[in-house]
Symmetry: C2
Subunit: 330 residues, 2 copies
């Protein structure tokens, strides 16, 4: 298996991407194709022992920075790492593309180069989100701010297929994010989508879920429109960040608490790790005609390694074919 | 000034409501009218020294429980505490109504008894939310799952008026909750509302705000539809709850961390207090034709006292008249 990895994607690229790519190639016994400026990649590789790691380099002289406009920059830089790698996916030269770069650019480049799976109305951005017990896949988290019930029906199918064939959950539980547990609660979109999901998913559909149920781990796939999904994810991140900051401030004010916090540090660290999205490595763009995994921009080498692993699992799960089958069943 | 207080509202009523009511009457030098079953109120009052507290009792034999359907139960129990108190607001016998009971029932009862302020399309549920620095008012958080730009324009005006005349912020900063900071980002509702808010609020309108900006304290009033607002509030609560649970679990696994957590306990407690919505006491139903403050269901006596204080401030701010003025200016 060959996985193309965006050498310039993420806040700490190419240092962590090259390290994570070598790590993944060795741990998972696949070929990792590092796509980016050849000289910079070679410089980074020189720092590591690549013995036993199958690595290839494909030169791409340009890349998309995190602060650039997605569609505009992808168009303006035809030889950017993402577009070059995606062309290889399209030509069947690699099995999947993994990036920790700009999510919007990855989506735009995927749509330009791969297009949508025939029959899919809209692609969805997804993320794997930590819950008290386990985790869940949530989609859409920002590709489509305004959605129709039909889009959400396809998101539900794609999420369900992914949970089954990549996460290995035999009967994934799928819910729609809403503001009351009972059917009939929610906005017009939720109410109109509800019967479609009942019909399409049967027993897999567990109905409306509120944020607390999702975060408790009651559900495997959470379906929502891209606006609400993005607010959910960003609120969760911002609240966790605020809580930790306030706690640090209050600890610093009290010398005894500072001593206590030192003793409790391993527990704080474990908490951070349990809730850190980097542990999951990455999440798919669903609905584009190829396997594309987007990892967190803040990824370290370990997270990059895990993102590559997610790509491998998606290839093993034959996810594009499964989505095509799912479409004919809808 | 006379404030009607729902003696049966909240998880710990009437114990904490009677205690908080006496406390507020004494601290703020107003008359608190306890509305509820007279005998139960007298039993609770007997436990306290009411010297120096101006307390009246108005008998209401029924009340709405937290798990009841709002509109149905309000209709089925015409002599419930909320409806009795709101009738007193309507007749001018009290200046405001404060409850820590069922928010939906308070809204339904307010609409039945007081109705909307003439010209207001939809009333809004609000809450005062803690930020890293200060706090902000967010509305709507659940009264209207589907909104039109015109509703959001009125929410913005009402929130701005409240922030100015109750919180005493001379030039409140008003933002619309969205998924990108630039204007033009967001869903169709946000995009259609944006120019209306620019026109209606002028310099008070600071544009789109993302969750992290709101939670940092960059804004005084956050405007959103009731679906998104409810998801925001419930996600924030659920994430904070999950984070604390995971941290407790991880601490309990490590004896040293348990000792450390004991030393750091005052810092944890201070964190909880800074972020606890009960500190703010309550938030208004905006758009109904009278002053109605809804406190948190989990309120203790101190929170009840603070909710009464919020009612007093809303009366002092002459908030219903200010909203009427705001409507003519729109």
């Amino acid at each position: 298996m060959k996985i193309a990895l965006d050498a310039m994607g993420g806040d700490h690229a190419p240092t962590v991407t090259v390290e994570g790519g070598i790590w993944a190639a060795r741990d998972f016994n696949v070929t990792v194709v590092l796509v980016g400026p050849e000289e910079r990649i070679r410089e980074e590789m020189a720092k590591h022992n690549t013995q036993g790691a199958s690595i290839e380099i494909v030169h791409a002289p340009e890349w998309i920075r995190m602060d650039e406009h997605p569609a505009t920059s992808v168009r303006a830089k035809p030889r950017n790492t993402m577009s070059v790698a995606l062309e290889m996916v399209k030509q069947g030269e690699v099995d999947a593309f993994v990036t920790c770069g700009h999510t919007g650019a990855a989506l735009a480049a995927s749509l330009f180069t791969l297009g949508r799976i025939r029959g899919i109305k809209r692609p969805a951005l997804t993320t794997v989100f930590p819950a008290l017990h386990g985790s869940f896949l949530i989609l859409d988290i920002g590709a489509n701010a305004d959605c129709k019930p039909e889009y959400l029906r396809q998101f539900a199918m794609m999420g369900s297929v992914y949970a089954e064939h990549v996460f290995g959950i035999r009967h994934p539980k799928v819910g729609i994010l809403s503001i009351g547990e009972e059917g009939g609660k929610g906005n017009a979109l939720v109410q109109d989508t509800y019967p479609l999901l009942e019909e399409a998913l049967g027993e897999r559909f567990i109905g409306n879920v509120e944020p607390k149920e999702a975060l408790r781990g009651d559900v495997d796939v959470v379906v929502t429109d891209g606006f609400t999904g993005n607010i959910f994810v960003k609120t969760a991140e911002a609240v966790a960040d605020m809580l930790m900051r306030v706690m640090k401030e209050e600890i610093k004010r009290r010398p005894l608490a500072v001593a206590g916090a030192l003793l409790a540090k391993p527990a704080f660290k474990a908490t951070g790790e349990r809730l850190d999205p980097r542990e999951y490595g990455g999440a798919p763009l669903l609905g584009v005609d190829g396997i594309v995994i987007v990892g967190h921009g803040r990824s370290d080498a370990y997270a990059v390694r895990n993102a590559v692993r997610m790509g491998i699992r998606a290839v093993d799960g034959d996810i594009v074919r499964r989505i095509r089958e799912g479409l004919t069943n809808l």
